[in-house]
Amino acid sequence: MAPTAADNAFVEFDRVQKSYDGETLVVKDLNLSMPRGEFLTMLGPSGSGKTTCLMMLAGFETATHGDIRIGGTSINHIPPHKRGIGMVFQNYALFPHMTVAENLAFPLEVRKLGKSEREAKVQRALDMVQMGKFGGRRPAQLSGGQQQRIALARALVFEPELVLMDEPLGALDKQLREHMQFEITRIAHNLGITTVYVTHDQTEALTMSDRVAVFDDGRIQQLAPPDELYEAPQNSFVAQFIGENNTLTGVIKSIDGGRCAVQLDSGEVIDAMPVNVSKPGERTKVSIRPERVEINKSRLSPDAHTLKAEVLEFIYMGDIFRTRLRVAGREDFIVKTRNAPDQVRLQPGTTIEIGWLPEDCRALDA
């Protein structure tokens, strides 16, 4: 089937605003377009508006302004039960008074499917999440991970084109969570359904998604595939929010195409890549990923700016070493180095020189 325009913009938020009290906007001018089959994650701190967006999409909240479309049709006036969207809730919302099979059969029943068809679909959905033998149990008799699978199966059993998931893994322990992340993406891709996934866990967002929308303050700060988000954050919020990050503040001294010189508040000058700064004199936050910091001076180009750093703490973490340094007056500068045979282990109290490639150092808004 050839992709159509509607397929490229299967789910669309068009200038959507939302206010609960008529005074402040929780969602400010949201524009988003999702192609069919995409796994999109809405990531952001609590109160950033991501869950509100999900609820507007599901129909449990109405947009104060703007249009939400699915498959090209505005759904603003369609009640939730007619939207045909599958949904997985934070605490699974499995009906405690029904068995697992009854839970799964519920969406089929309200769609008035015949009994045999219902049973077949329920069994298929249970098998899909490897819970085929649990149909007769009550939700309370299942573990958290099992409940999670049932919730997923229930959201999918009536074959919706769009599935929403609201922090579905929040209640699971780390190991289960990682396993379920994999399961969910596998199933979503196998079925080819479009998924909107809300989380505040960046690892989850990065590992599962085709694209991630980073929310803050009612806006999407950046919408990009995980690698781009990590490597090329568009602003300091995203840089801070995604992954670990070293931030230094200063003023743009000069700017020249793909390079700029930044005078740090402590006086040193470093090279950086301007991202959203435009002219000298502007304040900036430069961000450098800990694993991109070079502690071996010989590997840097001779003309690269370097900074003096005092080793404060060395933490052995198995696969990597994590070293905390005092740099440019800050004591929270982190360097991550790979645990390789030739890797030096920095001793606290020693002073070294550090540097980086200018393109790894992004000068962002202050």
Binding site: A58, G59, F60, P79, P80, H81, K82, R83, G84, I85, G86, M87, F89, Q90, N91, A93, F95, P96, H97, F106, P107, V110, R111, R154, A155, F158, L164
Partner: protein, 512 residues
């Protein structure tokens, strides 16, 4: 580790005592502590709840008063055939004379009269009037005769010595028995038998012993052969002619045991007849009817409370806390107003010339001649009780609804259920424990209510509890009240059992 597992004997704790024993000791200490923690409550419940219930159950069958007050009569009546159509023989009356005279000393005869009056109208005044006469029976003749024969017969100290003599006591069984009964009564009253005149009935017993040919040692001999034989039967019948009525004696005989099923029989509209228990005449049956009415109306009240309380509880549980609290105060308002204020308010509202009828007439829904009867009947009881008990429905409903995750309904809707289906299939079943708890509360409370039905229930809006209250506070027929109460208790327990079977008692939550 390997040491202990390879051991063949019991596992040992570090100090060498068997592990089980030391575990047991440690647990026992915990158990004792737990017991001490609940001891005050346990004691409280025992004293204020369990004990009264046992007392009630006991009272519903207890009949000590008859055999205790008339011990000699009860024995004598065993040989009397109540189908004979005649009052018992002289011998029974002699026993009865001793019993009655002793009872009169203690003022117990009127109490017994009231007790038996529950079984047969009229006994009360028979006992009371004879109580006045029994001291004035002609039996003082014997007293005079004995004293005339020998003055020592007047001396209480002498009597006391005689009666302490085993030979005398066995030779004069009736006298010894009457004297012992008299001494017992005096001791209970705190009087000294050595200071009091020997009563007529003891001399009468002495006469009857001697007339029967007794030959006691010690006592100065008296020849009684020429004396008048005074018939006690006649004495009693002279005092009150009803003593000749075999029905009185049949009643005493029927209720002569220490326990009786009479109260329970009465509670289910049976009456005792010579042939056993039989149903009362139709126009005298009342209790079964009241039990049924109590159950039916309590169910109706419970139903009304569910209908009215459910939407309010739903609203309350979905409002923000501040508004919910305000509304909750309104819900609890009935608790804060005195019963009298509430009752007058209902009257003003509900009576024929009341506000509601006036409004209905004014609007034209009801014509002036056909004003609705909303009070002083079953309607009044249902309206008023629903009002009072509504909070008991709303509170558990509210607290259960509070715990229903709002995402259940959302989940249902996301799966395609419309508002009604989502409510009925998902929300409602989860609120059933609240309905269960509220219903049990309301139902049990309404079964026990009697003041409100009394005030607004008129004739067909009163409950069995009103009768119980009447028998407790007015007729003092506590045995019947206890029997009615016991039946009510059994009915409630029975309903509880049915509820457990049908709905499941696990399905009751007061919240959380």
């Amino acid at each position: 580790m390997t040491d202990t597992t390879s051991q063949s004997g019991p596992m040992l704790a570090a100090d060498g005592t068997p592990l089980k024993k030391s575990l047991h000791r440690a647990q026992r200490r915990q158990k004792v502590r737990a017991l001490m923690l609940i001891a005050p409550l346990l004691l409280f419940i025992l004293v204020t709840f369990i004990a009264p219930i046992f007392d009630m159950l006991l009272r519903s069958v207890e009949n000590d008063i008859v055999p205790d007050t008339l011990p000699r009569t009860v024995v004598a009546l065993q040989d009397w055939d109540n189908a004979s159509g005649e009052a018992p023989d002289e011998e029974t009356f002699r026993a009865f004379y001793t019993d009655f005279a002793l009872a009169e000393e203690q003022k117990a005869h009127t109490r017994l009269g009231s007790r038996l009056n529950f079984e047969m109208s009229g006994i009360s005044s028979v006992f009371r009037s004879t109580g006045r006469d029994v001291g004035k029976f002609d039996t003082d003749y014997y007293t005079d005769q004995f004293v005339d024969a020998d003055e020592v017969y007047e001396d209480p100290v002498q009597w006391s010595e005689w009666m302490a003599d085993d030979g005398v006591a066995s030779a004069l069984p009736q006298t010894a028995d009457a004297y012992a009964g008299w001494v017992k009564v005096l001791n209970e009253e705190g009087d000294d038998p050595l200071d009091e005149d020997i009563p007529d009935f003891v001399y009468t017993a002495l006469y009857h012993d001697l007339a029967a040919g007794a030959n006691p040692p010690v006592l100065p001999s008296v020849d009684v052969s020429g004396w008048d034989d005074i018939s006690l039967k006649e004495q009693f019948i002279d005092s009150n002619e009803d003593w000749a009525d075999p029905d009185i004696w049949a009643t005493i005989k029927a209720f002569s045991g220490p326990y009786t099923a009479g109260y329970f029989a009465n509670s289910i509209d049976l009456q005792s007849t010579p042939e056993g228990f039989a149903q009362r005449d139709e126009d005298e049956r009342i209790y079964i009817k009241l039990f049924i009415r109590t159950m039916v109306m309590s169910l109706a009240i419970t139903g009304m409370c569910i209908l009215l309380g459910y939407p309010i509880a739903y609203l309350l549980s979905h409002l923000p806390a501040r508004k919910a609290n305000l509304l909750m105060i309104l819900v609890l308002l009935p608790f804060w107003t005195s019963l009298l204020v509430r009752t007058s308010a209902w009257k003003v509202l509900l009576q024929n010339q009341g506000v509601i009828n006036d409004i209905l007439v004014w609007i034209g829904i009801v014509s002036d001649d056909n004003r609705l009867a909303l009070i002083n009947n079953a309607n009044g009881t249902i309206i008023a009780m629903t009002h009072i008990l509504l909070p008991f429905m709303i509170l558990p409903l509210f607290s259960v609804m509070k715990t229903i995750n709002p995402s259940y309904v959302r989940a249902a809707k996301s799966m395609g259920a419309n508002d009604w289906t989502a409510f009925w299939r998902v929300y409602f079943p989860n609120s059933v424990p609240g309905i269960g708890a509220g219903s049990i509360l309301v139902f049990i409370l309404s079964i026990g209510y009697y003041i409100t039905p009394e005030l607004v229930g008129g004739v067909d809006g009163v409950f069995i509890s009103n009768r119980i209250a009447y028998h407790i506070s007015s007729s003092l027929n506590w045995g019947l009240a206890a029997a009615l109460g016991s039946i009510l208790l059994v009915l409630v327990l029975g309903l509880y059992y049915v509820y457990d079977r049908v709905v499941g008692i696990d399905n009751v939550k007061l919240g959380g």
